[in-house]
Structure formats: C-alpha cells, structure tokens
C-alpha cells in the first residue's frame, strides 16, 4: 500500500491555491521550522465571506496536501464557518492520512484559525478568544 491516498498525492503534486497574497485581509502562520513544518494561510474577505484563500507551506507531502485541501474547504465560505473547520474534516476530505501525519491536519486547522484571528484583529471585529486553540507545539516549546 502506498504511504498516501491518491487524493493526498493529487493535492501534493497539484496543490490548489498555492502562492502569496499581497492584499490579504488576514494572514496566519503556524508551525516551526525546527519541527519541519510551517504553514502560512492568506484570506481575502468580503461581506463576511472568504472570497479568496492562498497558502505557502514548508513541510512534508501531507503538510502541503492538508494546506491545499484546507484552502479548498474554506474558500467561498462565511468566516464563521471557516472557523469551524476541523482537522478531521481535512483528513476525511483527503481520504485519510497515516497516523503519524495527523498533526499536519491539525496544523492546517490552526492555520485557518490564525488567519481568521488576524482578520478579526486587523478589522476591529470582536471575538471570543476561547474559540481559538492555543498555538503551541510541545516539541518546539523547549
């Protein structure tokens, strides 16, 4: 059996929405180069809807694939809905990930949240901080 599903390989080899966004409304970056993966997510928001989304990722095949899938899943969606994106939804949309790669999907979920939080901060939109996960990596914190 191959390490990754066809869907993961497709998103790795043909990543959707890859690139930078100069006029982003929110930018979120999570991960740590020391750990081997960093995701940067850009969102463009109009009338509460994510009209465009781009990403840059440093990381393994599944880190790139989960970033790509996450952008697909939140593009065109209301910001509030994007905030609900779970890592499990990303994993399912990719037809699964190997157990030791699940953390990549968590990173994708956190990257979306970080981008939304940045959008809220920059646009003076009030939010409940409880809604946002603590961005941390046990391995890197030492």
């Amino acid at each position: 059996m191959a390490l990754y599903s066809d869907k993961v390989m497709d998103h790795f080899q043909h990543p959707r929405n890859v690139g930078k966004m100069d006029d982003a409304d929110g930018i979120g970056e999570v991960g740590n180069a020391k750990c081997g993966d960093i995701m940067r997510m850009y969102i463009k928001v109009k009338d509460g809807i994510i009209t465009d989304c781009k990403f840059n990722t440093f990381g393994c095949g599944s880190a790139i694939a989960t970033s790509s899938m996450a952008t697909e899943l939140i593009k065109g969606k209301p910001v509030e809905e994007a905030l609900q994106l779970s890592n499990q939804a990303v994993v399912e949309a990719l037809d699964g990930l190997p157990a030791h790669k699940i953390h990549c999907s968590v990173l994708a979920e956190e990257a979306v949240q970080a981008a939304v939080k940045d959008y809220y901060d920059k646009h003076g939109i009030a939010y409940d901080p409880e809604k946002f996960k603590v961005q941390s990596c046990e391995h890197c914190s030492d």
Partner: protein, 396 residues
Amino acid sequence: MFVYADNAATTSVSKTALNAMMPYLTEDYGNPSSLYGFAQRAAEALAQARATVAECLGAASPREIYFTSGGSEADNQAIMSAARVGARKGKKHLISTKFEHHAVLHSLKRLEKEGFEVTLLDVHEDGVVRIEDLKNAIREDTCLVTIMFANNEIGTVQPVEEIGALCREKGIPFHCDAVQAAGHMPIDVEKMNIDMLSISGHKFHAPKGVGALYVRKNIPLFNLIEGGAQERGKRAGTENVAGIVAMAAALKESVDNMEADSKKMIAMRDKLFAELSKIPHSKINGSLEHHVPGTVNMCFEGIEGESLLLMLDANGICASSGSACTSGSLDPSHVLLALGLPHEVAHGSLRLSIGEYNTMEEIDHICKVVPQVVEYLRNMSPVWDELEKGQRPHLI
C-alpha cells in the same frame, strides 16, 4: 527515466549472486547438518562461502566468519557479547560514536539500562572521528570500542586503521560496523587490527536477510540465538545456505571489480556534488576527503526532505532523506544533528547513493531534476520567503 539512487538502503541482486544461489534453492536444498551425501553438498557450499568471505575480508581463517541474518544481528551479537565478556572482568564501559547505525546505538542504549556506561564520541562537522578524542575516552574499564567503517547517511569514512592500532595497543577489542563499506572499500581485518566486523549482503548485490560477523580467533563470542550447533555453536538456526552462497559470490565479485567500479562511481558522485552545489544555499554534508565512492548527502535550505523525495519519485528518482518526516520521529536524523546541523537545515536533506549499475545519463537526469524540484518547493515555502526577504538569517 527511472533512476535508482538509494543503493545505501539496498541493492539489486547481481546475476552472479542469483546464479550462484539458485541450485541451493531447488537442487541441492539439503540441510547442511544432515548426514547423507546429498546434504553434504550444501555443507560444502557453506564451507566454500565461508572461505570466500574470510578471504575478501582478509581474515586469517574461515573459522572466524559467522553467518547471521544481516548487519543488525551481527552488530547486536558483537556488542552484547563484548559487554558480557567485559562485565565478567568488571569492565563495563563502551565507546562508540554519535552517528552509528541504530543497530549499534540501540544495543548500547540497552546496555546502559543494564548498568553499563557508554561514551559516544563527537564526529565533528566533517563526520570523522578524531583519534585524540578516542584516546581521551579510553578508560581502564573500557571493554569495547565500536566505530563504523563508513557512515550510512553521509558516507564519511573513519580512520579505521588508526583506531584499530590504538585499540590493539590498549588491549581493547575493536568492533567495526562495515555494512556500508564491505564490497565498496578495501577491508583487511588483519592489517586494520579489527577484532569484530559486521557486513550485510544486500548492500553489495546479495539478497536481503543474510550477513556475517567476523570475530578474531582469540575473542570470546556469546550467542544471541540459542538452539542447534550451527555456526560452531555461536548462532543457532538452519543456515540460509542459498543466501550465504549468494553473499559470498556477490562479495567476491564486488571485491574483484572494486577498483574499476570505484572509479566509475566516484566520477558520478563528484558530478552530483559539482552540479548540485550550484544550487544556492545548499551544503554538502561530511568530509569529501574521507568518503565512500557512492554516497552524496546534501542539505537545501528552506525546503523539507519528504516533499523533496516525493517530487523526485514523481520524476522517477529513488532517493532518501534524513528529515523528521521520513525518519518517523519528530527529530531529523541523528547523523545530521551529530554534525552540528541546525534542525531546520537537517530537515532539508537529501541522500543519493549510487552504485556500479548507475549510468552518467542517470546522473544527468538527477542533476536536471533536483534543482527544478528545489526551486519549486522553495517557491511554495514560507521559510524560503522569509530567508529571501532577510527576515530570517540564512544558515547555509
């Protein structure tokens, strides 16, 4: 184009080895321990293989060769045995290096849990052990020095002859994991004062699942596997006759062709070094002066190794990496970290290991594809973006 550039991981079985082993699978399939003449044909083949391996390693006698299931078993037996011998004399200190294969490091870890003390020597930035460091580490209670001949990830060759001479002078047994060197570099256990040496068949065109441990005549050896009296009572289990015959044939072929093959491989290796070094912010890992003919290990800043390997695979190139994602742990390769490379650089490593069957056309393909893939991944990488903007300092 398909390019197999992972010969340090494993190799194809050579025609010579395959032809040599076939009769012992289908015709002369007897158990060498059986009495009748039919089985004695297998026993004779085993004896012949033992003599061939002994000769290829410069051993004084075929009786010093013990066949095993591979390099890991040979390493385990050498280390566990030396520790037991040492413990009987109250000597419970072992010396090795930080960048040994896990078969060695994990054996030493186990001994530490059992109350032994282990000193792991630094391998410095160039991946070469210093004799001075070894001298300083040797103690009254040192019962074994185990240092590899050539490193599996970066290909640096250790000063084995000097290590052997020093250990001999101090009266300490010297085990050498020569899995990456056997069949690729001249080995002479007598001249190099090596007391125990591990080899693995599948690294030089024999099948997987067969290896050998050389043990000098006067060095006591304990079993890992108890049972029958095979291998002079030191390794139970019916011998893998066909595999052993294949290994002997492959080793002899490799040794016979070593000079010509090395020349060819060095030309290919040096082309890879020259071409891939043109990639900005890349780094060659390990000393070029002390290097096996076939291994190239480099880091490319701003990218991660696993995605690099997947992209190379998509372009028909089989290679490996020491990134955390390929090691199955959170940390990149212990070998690259032992060289003092920062984690973020070590994540972007690539190992290409070429063999005598590779061609210059294949090397050209690698030289064309790798820079393209590195550039593609860098364009996608936020780390590279920050490096380029000066928001993050270049480390290489």
